[in-house]
């Protein structure tokens, strides 16, 4: 079987799964799967760049996705002026103190001679600056959080349009690349530390940083309301209710023979799907070009033999940092899209199994090192994830129908059906690793 044929068959298969869901169940579900599938595909593309092309084991995908989500809030929400007046300056000052302290500490570490004096100075400086930071910062935070806590209690975003800016359809789309930038910034900092000094502790570093990012999002209420969630995020597409009262739309729907309510939900989802597809296709084209460029060949050379590449004068650490930032930025972009699609920021929803390890399953199943493979793998695994959750309970009821109606086993099996997702994902991953270790579409 040629590569092209294999790729086309896989693509047709994934398309059939989604279309089949539409035809056999309902189109709303099919489109929801498609939209989240497209976002998952973008995440998988980012991880594939890092893992497939460079061999970097990033298990902190969740953190970058969450940062993207934060960007979505920060860019699209209008600022809360009272909160800014109450403590905005103080919080900024606190952050500035923190940043300055880190800069001073780094300078001291670099400039002073090694020894006890330096250690002492470092310790005293860090303790002093920590307390200075907390004193200034905490005051600002409590001032902000006391401003109308049930509705805002945070600084809001940076949407300069104010409340009118909520209706600007292009604002969320701008937020997506900003999400990528935010993730890239974090990736730079992590990469500098983890890749620069010991390239060989990336896994644990990313695992930790992802937890920290999510902890920050959960706790720093002044920034994004923490677990109180920011709801009602602006969106790049019209609202269903607006469509339903738009006479032109209603007529068009009626002409197609669909009632206006269903048509509006489908239309919104289709618009999202279109937007996401544009981003995915552009990213995929860029990734494909990168893969076959001299840069991509160099990356693969480094991956396959780091020592030889280094001996040939390649700056391995720098290249790794580069691709780590790019891959993380793509994950951030996808995270921003997802938050916009959700319409709200819910930090508690970020769980590593769903946002880190599931993306890994997508990449490995699709084919590490193969961009198209990981994109299709992303869609496939996402379909499976939803399908097991949606149809699993029904299937379980059917499978246990032979059991006595009041049997405790039956009840517990039906209760546990939603947990089957994890079993299925693990089994799929293990089967692929065992029988097709290079994934469905192997790297060429």
């Amino acid at each position: 079987m040629t590569d092209t044929l294999r790729t086309s068959l896989f693509a047709v298969f994934v398309a059939l799964l989604i279309l089949g869901t539409g035809f056999l169940d309902n189109w709303n579900l099919a489109l929801v799967i498609l939209n989240y599938g497209l976002i998952s595909a973008i995440m998988a593309l980012g991880v594939n760049l890092q893992w497939g092309l460079a061999g970097l084991f990033n298990v902190g995908v969740m953190g970058f996705v969450a940062l993207g989500g934060l960007a979505s809030v920060l860019i699209t929400m209008p600022p809360v002026t009272e909160a800014w007046a109450a403590g905005g300056g103080r919080v900024l000052l606190g952050l500035a103190i923190g940043a300055a302290a880190i800069a001073v500490l780094v300078t001291v570490y670099k400039r002073m001679a090694k020894g006890r004096t330096r250690n002492l100075v470092m310790i005293v400086l860090s303790i002093a600056s920590f307390f200075a930071f907390r004193t200034v910062f905490d005051g600002g935070v409590s001032a902000i959080e006391s401003v109308n806590p049930s509705l805002s209690g945070y600084l809001g975003g940076l949407n300069f349009g104010g409340d009118a800016g909520r209706d600007w359809w292009w604002m969320p789309i701008i937020a997506w690349p900003v999400g990528g930038l935010l993730a890239a910034g974090a990736a730079w900092a992590i990469g500098k530390v983890a890749l620069g000094l010991r390239s060989d502790y990336l896994a644990i570093a990313t695992l930790g940083i992802a937890e920290i990012i999510v902890a920050v999002l959960k706790n720093e209420n002044w920034m994004s309301r923490g677990v109180l969630n920011v709801t009602g995020l602006p969106r790049p597409v019209p609202y269903e209710t607006d469509l339903q009262v738009d006479p032109a739309f209603v007529t068009a729907a009626n002409d197609l023979g669909i009632d206006a309510t269903t048509a509006s939900t489908l239309a919104v989802k289709l618009l999202y799907a279109g937007l996401f597809s544009v981003f995915l296709i552009v990213l995929l084209l860029l990734a494909q070009r990168a893969l076959h460029s001299p840069w991509g060949r160099m990356m693969r050379a480094i991956r396959d033999n780091e020592v030889a590449a280094e001996a040939m004068g390649k700056d391995v650490t720098r290249r790794h940092l580069q691709i780590f930032i790019i891959g993380s930025a793509i994950c951030g972009l996808a995270g921003a899209m997802m938050t916009t699609l959700d319409g709200q920021m819910t930090p508690a929803a970020y769980q590593p199994l769903r946002f880190t390890f599931l993306v890994w399953v997508m990449v490995i199943v699709g084919g590490s090192g193969n961009n198209i493979g990981s994109v299709l793998g992303g869609m496939l695994i996402w379909w499976l994830w939803v399908a097991v959750g949606e149809y699993g309970p029904d299937l379980m009821i059917w499978a246990t129908s032979a059991l006595h109606a009041e049997s405790a086993l039956k009840a517990s099996l039906i209760d546990s059906a939603p947990q089957m997702r994890f079993l299925v994902m693990g089994t799929v991953l293990l089967l692929i690793l065992r029988f097709s270790p290079r994934g469905i579409l192997p790297e060429k």
């Binding site: 060989d200 990336l202 991956r303 396959d304 780091e306």
Partner: protein
């Protein structure tokens, strides 16, 4: 990328998730031995073979050792010296030819089975357990023995007094020459019928090298035949009862050490005149 999809190198440098140094030996699968009376004590007879699916490195190469002898394999770089020894130890596929030990055909045995049959092998590198003490290294050498091996250990301490002194130190902290003594001691713990040394003096200073040769002669005096691969051809030939010069995986010259030292062709081609 390699042919084996499970052996890609991607991601293997991350120390928080992987530990390097896994086994690389790909021994021949274990089989049965069969009696082969009337052959030399240890002989690799007309061995032809190479690693895995690779090309042949040995071409009908024959190496034999009789009891009480020191036999050495010498030859230029890349002549297949170590390969010949590994073939006799079962670490590569012998496609034709046989290996026999003490009247038994052991060609089909795995290296572990050959150890049980009485072969002691000291690899060239990574030949000690660096994180374990000297004494533990010797104990591990005696792993297949279920009897009391304290006598053997005492004999080894007599042979290598420095090891007794350092017996509670981690072997990785010893000097190069001392490590080689640990390695030889470990192999002797099974009370082997034959001891095979792969370049025991690689990477040690000339003084240490002389001392190591002395120790090896002492080991031979205890009655164990020794087969040894050596880079330092001249010294090796001086102590050898029997010597094999290999060139490109085939026997080029065979004789006693003295004969070969006197052989003008051997002298000219690789003893440097």
């Amino acid at each position: 990328m390699t042919d084996n999809p499970y052996r890609d190198d991607r991601g293997n440098n991350d120390r928080s998730i992987t530990k390097s140094g896994g086994g690389v030996a790909q021994p021949v699968t274990s089989g049965q031995s069969s009696p082969a009376p009337g052959t030399p004590f240890l002989i690799g007879d007309a061995m032809t073979g190479g690693y895995g699916k690779g090309p042949d490195i040995l071409h009908s190469c024959t190496i034999a050792v009789e009891p009480g002898e020191i036999a050495v394999i010498v030859g230029p770089n890349g002549a297949g010296k170590s390969t010949a020894m590994k073939a006799m130890f079962g670490m590569l596929d012998v496609r034709s030819g046989r290996v026999m030990l003490d009247g038994e055909d052991i060609t089909a045995l795995s290296p572990q089975q050959r150890v049980v049959k009485g072969m002691g092998f000291v690899p060239q590198t990574h030949n000690i357990f660096t994180s374990m003490t000297v004494e533990e290294n010797l104990e591990m050498g005696a792993f297949i023995r279920r009897d009391d091996f304290r006598d053997t250990m005492a004999q080894i301490y007599d042979l290598f007094p420095i090891l007794k002194e350092k017996r509670l130190q981690p072997a990785g902290e010893l000097s190069g020459g001392q490590r080689q003594q640990v390695a030889v001691g470990r192999a002797l713990m099974t009370k082997p019928k034959v001891l095979m040394l792969d370049e025991p003096t690689a990477g040690v200073s000339p003084i240490v090298m002389d001392e190591l040769f002395d120790r090896i002669i002492e080991v031979a005096r205890t009655g164990i035949p020794i087969l040894m691969v050596e880079q330092n051809a001249r010294q090796a030939l001086e102590i050898a009862d029997k010597a094999y010069v290999l060139v490109q995986g085939a026997n080029a010259h065979t004789g006693t050490g003295k004969e070969l030292l006197a052989n003008p062709e051997v002298r000219r081609s690789f003893l440097g005149g």
